[in-house]
């Protein structure tokens, strides 16, 4: 790693953390995601929004290898990712799930230790022989896991079963577990779903802190305030296609986005005639009132 002849994956500082090009996902006749391009640069927080059923989670699953995209490629720091979830995580992309998927009957600490799996390599034989190397690795893993639990504020609950944590802490634990694989990019699938405003603000702070540690974040969310507060860039997915992409202000001002969420007025109305009629009617009522 210290030699000058490094692999191309490690040198390019300008290569974006994530490049998805022309990602298309078809389930039989249904096209859930159509030709989506997305780039996440180093240390950037990118939001992905869209109405229900727009294909956001499907797109996430394509990125993390849970689905093999029908067309298109996904590259992490310039290297094409194989469509296998464990290899994607190994490459440096970690994720959380829309419905919390913790290892419910493992303790909080064990959950995070499982997240360390790709960054440790002690096999069965070293576990059976329990040499000094094994003990050192276990100790190091535990230390790193405790750091992450302290970071997310769960250190006091290390020996609780994951299933017994309150909802908000389960979300935090999922993030801690994902961070345990030392990812360069963290994918958060609706991290504030079901949270109250205080918890949402806490999550916002947490995501900023994660970015401050040098991890880029791609986040799906329905909470617009959360997204527009937090994200450097926001991409809008509607019916499987990327509608637009830009800063919070650009996206908020985009009429197509508003249309996608709220619908378009009937036949381009209110037209001028109708507006005039309404104005006339109002004027008559006012006159009547005055009399």
């Amino acid at each position: 790693m210290t030699t000058t002849a490094t692999a191309p994956a490690e040198t390019p500082t300008d290569a974006p953390t994530l490049t998805a090009t022309g990602v298309t996902m078809r389930f039989g006749g249904l096209t859930a995601v159509r030709n989506v391009d997305l780039t996440v640069r180093h240390n950037e927080i990118v939001g992905l929004i869209g109405p229900n059923g727009a294909g956001k989670t499907t797109f996430f699953n394509c990125l993390t290898g849970l689905y093999t995209p029908t067309e298109g490629t996904v590259a992490y720091k310039g290297v094409k990712l194989p469509p296998k979830p464990h290899l994607v995580t190994k490459a440096g992309i970690a994720r959380t799930f829309q419905n919390i998927r913790l290892f419910a009957n493992m303790t909080v600490l064990e959950n995070v230790l499982v997240g360390r799996h790709t960054r440790t390599k002690e096999g069965l034989f070293s576990a059976l022989l329990r040499g000094p190397g094994f003990r050192r690795a276990e100790h190091a893993s535990e230390q790193r896991a405790m750091e992450l639990l302290t970071f997310t504020g769960l250190a006091a609950k290390r020996d609780h079963l994951a299933r017994n944590l309150p909802y908000g802490e389960q979300r935090k634990l999922e993030i801690a577990r994902a961070l345990a694989s030392d990812p360069g990019l963290l994918l958060l699938d609706e991290p504030t779903a079901g949270m109250n405003p205080q918890e949402t603000r806490a999550t916002e702070t947490l995501v900023r802190a994660i970015r401050a540690q040098g991890t880029a974040v791609l986040v799906i969310e329905h909470d617009m305030r959360f997204i527009f507060n937090l994200c450097d860039r926001v991409a809008v997915l509607v019916q499987g296609e990327k509608l637009t992409e830009g800063t919070s202000d650009t996206v908020q001002a985009d009429e197509r986005v508003i249309a996608a969420y709220l619908g378009t007025p009937f036949e381009g109305a209110p037209g001028e005639e109708e507006a005039a009629e309404v104005a006339a009617a109002e004027a008559r009522t006012e006159e009547g009132d005055e009399q």
Binding site: F103, M106, L124
Partner: protein, 626 residues
């Protein structure tokens, strides 16, 4: 314990003020400390103590007139056979009754300081005694065969139980207790909460106070004594000469164990063993190694060897089922591969391969053959999940048996002699030590099966070590993660297929190890030993049952489960025809009342009894996990 609650579902008046008389079914605690039979406390104690004393005395009388009932219960003057069990139960009941008076030498018996242990012990005594009397009446044809001593025993044990039921017991109320605290919103809430302060909500386990710290040597001495006692119990159980004695023993031991658990004594012991792990494991295996020295004949040592083989294989299956969560219904095939391999290279004249490996080489070959077989079966099947995996493994298990039944030179290549199997497997010779002959080491006599027992014990130790070390490592955590949620596990970077294959292969190897010893113990291997379900353990169904009955994911669970599943059919010959029926009924009852198994994994116990335990870590709102 449930029986006791159901005896009187109505709440009764309480005399120590800790019960509650609230009858509006909206919010009532689940437990109360009230007697089932209303009597003053002093009277109840006196009644229990007198009853226990008289029950003990009744065992010195003759219970029946003829020696036709096994164990000779005809003698007046000293107890015999099943009477000894009643005597033990009665004395323990007496001891537990006396703990209520806080006698200094007895306080350690009942750390939880409730009366439930007394009541359970009285129930155990009653069950054993009445079972004996009923067995006498049924076997000899009528109540006329009971002597006055028998009637005295029946009455005094009943008296003891009645006295014990008049003691204030922790028990559930007739009304169920809502889990969430609607209490504060109901009108009677405030009144109820004051009562709640005196009564622990949730299950009826009292939390004993933490044990007084003892010097390390004393604690280790206690552990050693406990395992010595356990060895005595197991030796007695295996050595019971007739089925009635075994049933009586099982009744007393089972209910007695429940009483000790309720008294908090077993909990204290568990805490001690958790504190001193290495001494505990050493003591456990030292006690196990002492077993053959207590035996004069081969008869019970053979049973013990078979129990060890069965439990070792069950522990191997526990890697696959308990840790990685892969339901394998054809596991016995791996035992078969190991046994057939060892038989083929054992040098028997019946072997089609004319070779004779030394034992260590045979063990390695057997384990390797099982490993290969495991990988070959696992590689295609482990891509399936859940039910599909169970069906395919079931199929492969049967394919193994049918295949070795056909490799006889006629319907297939000549390898295994078909259904006749491979007989005349010679006894082992290891470093000049002949396993087939009786050895005298000083005053110690080791008969052939005792030799095999000690060898098998070594293998058990190896499997226990492998299980505990693999389970508590990066690999073990990955297995448990796969069991919990495979999709999330792969998203955390775990190569699901590879780790499942590893679990499958490790399980197969461990079964293969046990198989190599089994071939020599049984002298013959035939395909019919390796069926899916049959009357003789080990077979796939019994192995799985041993794991589930004992407790998935634990070490002692499958060992205990296998011991019980082997001993019960071996001892109760009359059950032979109904064995599978009784087995099914037992499994249903167990799943209803103790789904986590006899020895629960800490995790699974929390999983199944959440909300009903009193621990504060479990009272948080449960998140809506999918």
């Amino acid at each position: 314990m449930n029986a006791m609650n159901s005896m009187n579902p109505q709440k009764t008046a309480n005399d120590d003020g800790t019960g509650n008389g609230n009858g509006n079914g909206t919010a009532v605690p689940t437990t109360e400390t009230t007697p089932v039979i209303p009597l003053p406390l002093g009277t109840a104690r006196l009644l229990t103590a007198t009853g226990a004393l008289l029950s003990a005395a009744s065992t010195f009388l003759s219970w029946t007139w003829t020696t036709a009932f096994p164990g000779n219960l005809t003698v007046t003057g000293y107890p015999g056979g099943l009477q000894l069990l009643t005597l033990t139960g009665a004395l323990l009941t007496l001891a537990y009754t006396l703990t209520a008076w806080n006698l200094p030498g007895l306080r350690w018996l009942n750390p939880a300081a409730g009366h439930n242990a007394t009541a359970l012990m009285a129930t155990a005594t009653l069950a054993t005694t009445w079972y004996t009397l009923i067995a006498i009446s049924v076997q000899l044809g009528g109540l006329a065969n009971l002597e006055p001593g028998g009637y005295a025993a029946a009455l005094t044990t009943l008296l003891t139980l009645l006295g014990a039921l008049a003691l204030p017991l922790d028990r559930r109320t007739a009304h169920s207790f809502p889990r969430t605290s609607h209490l504060s919103t109901t009108r009677t809430g405030t009144a109820l909460r004051s009562i709640l302060r005196t009564i622990r909500p949730g299950r009826t386990d009292r939390q004993p106070p933490p044990a007084r710290p003892l010097p390390t040597w004393a604690e280790i001495l206690i552990i050693t004594a406990a395992f010595g006692l356990a060895l005595g119990l197991v030796t007695y159980g295996i050595g019971t000469a007739y089925g009635e004695l075994f049933t009586g023993f099982l009744l007393l031991a089972g209910l007695g164990a429940a009483a000790l658990t309720r008294a908090g004594l077993l909990g204290r012991l568990t805490a001690l063993t958790a504190k001193h792990r290495t001494p505990t494991v050493t003591a456990a295996f030292a006690a196990a190694a002492l077993f053959p020295l207590t035996q004069d004949t081969d008869q019970y040592t053979l049973i013990a060897v078979n129990i060890l083989i069965f439990s070792t294989v069950a522990l191997g299956l526990n890697v696959v089922v308990g840790l990685a969560g892969l339901l394998d219904l054809g596991y016995v095939a791996f035992l078969g591969v190991g046994a057939y391999t060892a038989a083929l290279v054992s040098g028997t004249t019946a072997s089609t391969l004319n070779i004779h490996f030394p034992f260590w080489a045979a063990v390695l070959t057997g384990a390797a053959a099982s490993l290969v077989f495991g990988v070959v079966i696992g590689a295609p099947t482990l891509r399936l999940r859940g039910d599909y995996l169970a069906i395919v493994t079931l199929g492969f298990g049967e394919i193994f048996r049918i295949t070795v039944g056909n490799l006889n030179g006629e319907s297939g290549p000549s390898l295994t002699n078909g259904p006749n199997g491979i007989p005349n497997i010679p006894d082992l010779v290891l470093f000049g030590y002949k396993f087939g002959s009786t050895h005298h080491l000083g005053s110690i006599t080791l008969n052939p099966f005792a030799n095999y027992y000690l060898l098998m014990l070594l293998f058990t130790v190896i499997v226990v070590l492998v299980f505990s070390r693999a389970g508590n490592s990066r690999i073990g955590r990955a297995w448990i993660a796969i069991r919990e949620d495979e999709t999330a596990a792969t998203a955390m970077g775990i190569n699901g297929f590879r780790l499942k294959l590893l679990a499958f292969a490790l399980g197969a190897t461990l079964a293969g190890l046990a198989g190599t010893v089994q071939a020599h113990v049984a002298y013959t291997v035939v395909p019919e030993q390796y069926v899916f379900a049959g009357p003789v353990p080990p077979n796939s169904a019994f192995l799985l049952a041993a794991v589930i009955l004992g407790g998935m994911g634990t070490i002692s669970g499958p060992l205990l489960g296998a011991a019980l599943l082997y001993l019960i059919p071996a001892k109760l010959q009359f059950l032979q025809d109904y064995q599978l029926l009784a087995f099914g009924a037992a499994l249903i009852l167990l799943m209803r009342f103790r789904p986590e198994g006899l020895i629960p994994n800490r995790r699974r116990q929390l999983e199944f009894h959440e909300g009903t335990t009193g621990s504060s870590t479990l009272t948080h709102a449960e998140a809506p996990t999918p």
